[in-house]
Amino acid sequence: MAANEEALMWVEKYRPKTLDEVVGLNDIVESIKAFMKNPKTMPHLMLAGIPGTGKTTIALAIARTLYGANWRNFTLELNASDERGIDTVRERIKDFSRYSRGSFGEIPFSLIILDECDQMTGPAQTALRRIMETSSRTSRFILICNQSSKIIEPIQSRCAIFRFSRLDKQAMKEHLQCIAKKENITLLPEAADKIVDFSEGDLRHAINALQTASAYKDGCVDDKTVALVIGEASPSQVQKMIRKALYGDFIESRKTMYEIMGSFGFSGSEIIRQIQREIFKMSDLTPEQKAELSNIIGDYDYRLTQGANSDIQLSALLAQFGKFGKNVEETYAAK
Amino acid sequence: MVLNKKAFKLPRVEKDKFVLLMHLGCDYNRDQGVFSIKSYNNIEKLMETISGILDNEVIFLQSCIRCGKDFACGDCKYDELCTTKNLPFGCVCPQCLRDRKHFEQYIEKF
């Protein structure tokens, strides 16, 4: 394990490097291989699906297949949510085209991998389409997103779209066991189950949990260790804040909110996203209640983007929970 | 000295003063030889100028929007607070303001 370049995070260490090493995505891999038979006619690609299902892995594998060991010289990796706007994206692509060697042997283009492009606004996507057009001689784009429906039609029509579905639990467990074996640790079945449940189909999440758990207990990962790790990592404060709000204790709920914002620096929209996730996990809410709460959350999510003070918007959201919560108490009691 | 805003006479003035009067919003009818006020944008300055010409303080009468009669600002109890005192604008005469009967007649019109 020593060399500096060898990946130390297991998500990277065990990431398949070539298309053939990828397990479980046969259809996609076969189609892509077909496209790459004649690289000159390879279209732009769109990889769509929930997080942790192999999109980035495939994109990077394509880069390696096309360009070999020096693939980094011909590949630009961008993340739409990190860039400040479409103008910076355009700048970075321009700079990249200027400084990279445009073609590699048979392959007349370089690769631009743009992740999280469903986070881009409509106008930004329109601009992106133009960028794709003007650089189509020298670049191919691989667009990665969670929801292809958020991508405007003109871009979709220019791409070959591949959909990545949630990994099934068995497949995930096999992955984890495979890694555990290579790392010389024992992964107990209950522990594996717990990890898989916690990660909700996101393999990256699962591998991180495994790696952290193994650091806590050398040699053997049991479900107690996993529980400890998950407990540390999962946003229990958010659940606490939500529950207090639903049960009408606004002031305590808001105190928890300030703690979350204060000690972790999460932005208002990040917290709202966590709230959405937590609501869906809560087993004492009916599906109808979850849907209704989700609508309220969506409303305030939008206001957050427009408003001046995110703590005010979050407080207002918690207050709406307080009003809603009356119903929760009643149904809970009725059970 | 009370003037009628629609038509008032002034003694003969030099060209400069005449031009100034026009500039400040006056109009002059050559046939009848009377001045009238065309624009109220500079009314204060205009009044000052006219007062200067006549060597006498000039006031205009107000017309009451309720009863229609003309009255002088001097009768009005708010004249200390009023920023448009003695200027020929519409107003409400003290009687109409106080008088309930007139008030109700006025309201009938709506």
């Binding site: 991180n208 650091a215 005010i312 207002a316 207050a319 | 500079n42 920023t83």
Partner: protein, 413 residues
């Protein structure tokens, strides 16, 4: 619970030109200008103190003569670009028969630039000259309004406009208007009380009507005694007084009036309101309703930013409604003031930058965005480093010693 949601300034907004009190001469000049198809000057500038009928006249005239108003309001970005985007198309269409017939169909556009003295010098890059150009090329009436036309930057503008001055509305006229409203609202008011309101308003009809409403709405009566409150309105009201008045107010109009006279900083006030709201409304349903309004006020504050001040009325409108959700449930309470900004206390810029840097390094090595790094990786990396200061891991990520320290010491969330 009887609560009048409609502000009287809205309800009694003049619909016809003749309903606008005062400034008869200004009204006449304006109408004549419109009628003669602006033969003298292509644009008109209405100027004078606030609340005397400039905007009301434009609206009433548009209504009466069937024009459509295209408005570019106070301190909207009035850069050349923005002006051309809106004003050019607005003024290039003209209906064939503006005035003479009885056609009820729309007779074309009026471009209305309110609060034109709000055009700042540099921010509005070329704003004033763009307006002049529009005026020169316009086929439809261009109307401007300002409080103070003597600002230097408007000088070139004045050359192309017909100037029409509006004066403060005289006290007897204001009283007469208040009398009329009292009659229509079935309010029994002492003459001296109306007198007091009119005197206090300094010729601003809008604030006179607001004062009338807030003082008389609850009991539908008004005595001179009730107007004693008015004298304090001219003085600046402090934050505590404003908060107190805000939370204990009994109607929207009362709050509106209070806020318009108070000189508190809007942003601090908004935060203080949010801090204190749960103390005012202990009933969850009321709290939710009030917070909904505060949230909308905040949205408007966000939209105002540093330039769109004409949206301020919606900001105040929503705040006012937050105060008046249920006047009956008011019980005096202890305020929190100044506003709590725990977030800024804990989370300094330095810390944010540090975390950002860490997320960037994680993102680069693991092919994820900053945000994913923060959510999905940081908790685990933190734990990994806490358990064993794995030097290989640190080297791989290229973390600095400060960054490692930061990660390890970060609180659980």
């Amino acid at each position: 619970m009887q609560r009048n949601d409609l502000l009287w300034v809205e309800k009694y907004r003049p619909k016809k030109i003749e309903d606008i009190i005062g400034n008869e001469e200004a009204k006449a000049s304006f109408v004549e200008w419109l009628k003669t198809k602006r033969k003298s000057k292509k644009a008109v500038l209405l100027y004078g103190p606030p609340g005397v009928g400039k905007t009301a006249l434009v609206n009433a005239a548009a209504r009466e003569f069937s024009f459509t108003i295209i408005e570019m309001n106070a301190s909207d970005t009035r850069s050349e670009k923005a002006i051309n985007a809106v004003a050019k198309p607005a003024t290039s269409y003209v209906a064939l028969d503006n005035f003479s017939t009885n056609q009820t169909k729309g007779k074309g556009n009026l471009l209305f630039l309110d609060e034109v003295d709000g055009i700042a010098g540099n921010e509005d890059r070329g704003g004033v000259s763009a307006i002049i150009k529009i005026v020169e090329e316009a086929l439809t009436p261009v109307i401007m309004a300002a409080n103070d036309p003597d600002v230097e930057k408007l000088r070139p503008l004045k050359k192309v406009c017909l100037l029409i001055r509006f004066q403060q509305i005289r006290i007897p006229l204001v009283i007469a208007l208040l009398q009329k409203i009292c009659l229509l609202e079935h309010v029994k008011a002492e003459f001296e009380a109306l007198e007091r309101i009119a005197q206090n308003s300094r010729g601003d009809v809008r604030s006179a009507i607001n004062d009338l409403q807030s003082l008389s709405e609850e009991n539908h009566s008004l005595t001179l005694q009730d107007t004693a409150m008015l004298s304090s309105r001219n003085k600046d009201i402090s934050m505590d007084d404003t908060l107190r008045g805000f939370f204990s107010s009994k109607s929207i109009a009362e709050v509106s009036s209070l806020l318009s006279y108070s000189s508190v900083d809007y942003d601090d006030f908004l935060l203080s309101v949010s801090d204190n709201l749960p103390r005012r409304y202990t009933n969850p349903a009321e709290l939710a309703a009030a917070y909904d309004f505060v949230s909308q006020a905040d949205v408007f504050r966000g939209r105002i930013g540093t330039e769109y001040w004409h949206l301020l009325k919606y900001f105040f409108n929503n705040l006012s409604q937050a105060a008046a959700v249920n006047p009956q449930s008011y019980k005096p309470f202890e305020f929190i003031s100044p506003p709590i900004r725990i977030i800024t206390l804990f989370w300094t810029k330095g810390k944010r930058t540090m975390l950002d840097g860490i997320c960037g390094k994680i993102g680069a090595k693991c092919h994820v965005s900053h945000s994913k790094a923060k959510h999905d990786f940081v908790p685990f990396v933190k734990m990994l480093l806490q358990k064993t200061k794995n030097s290989f891991l640190i080297a791989w990520f290229e973390f600095s010693p400060e960054e490692v320290d930061f990660l390890v010491k970060m609180n659980r969330f």
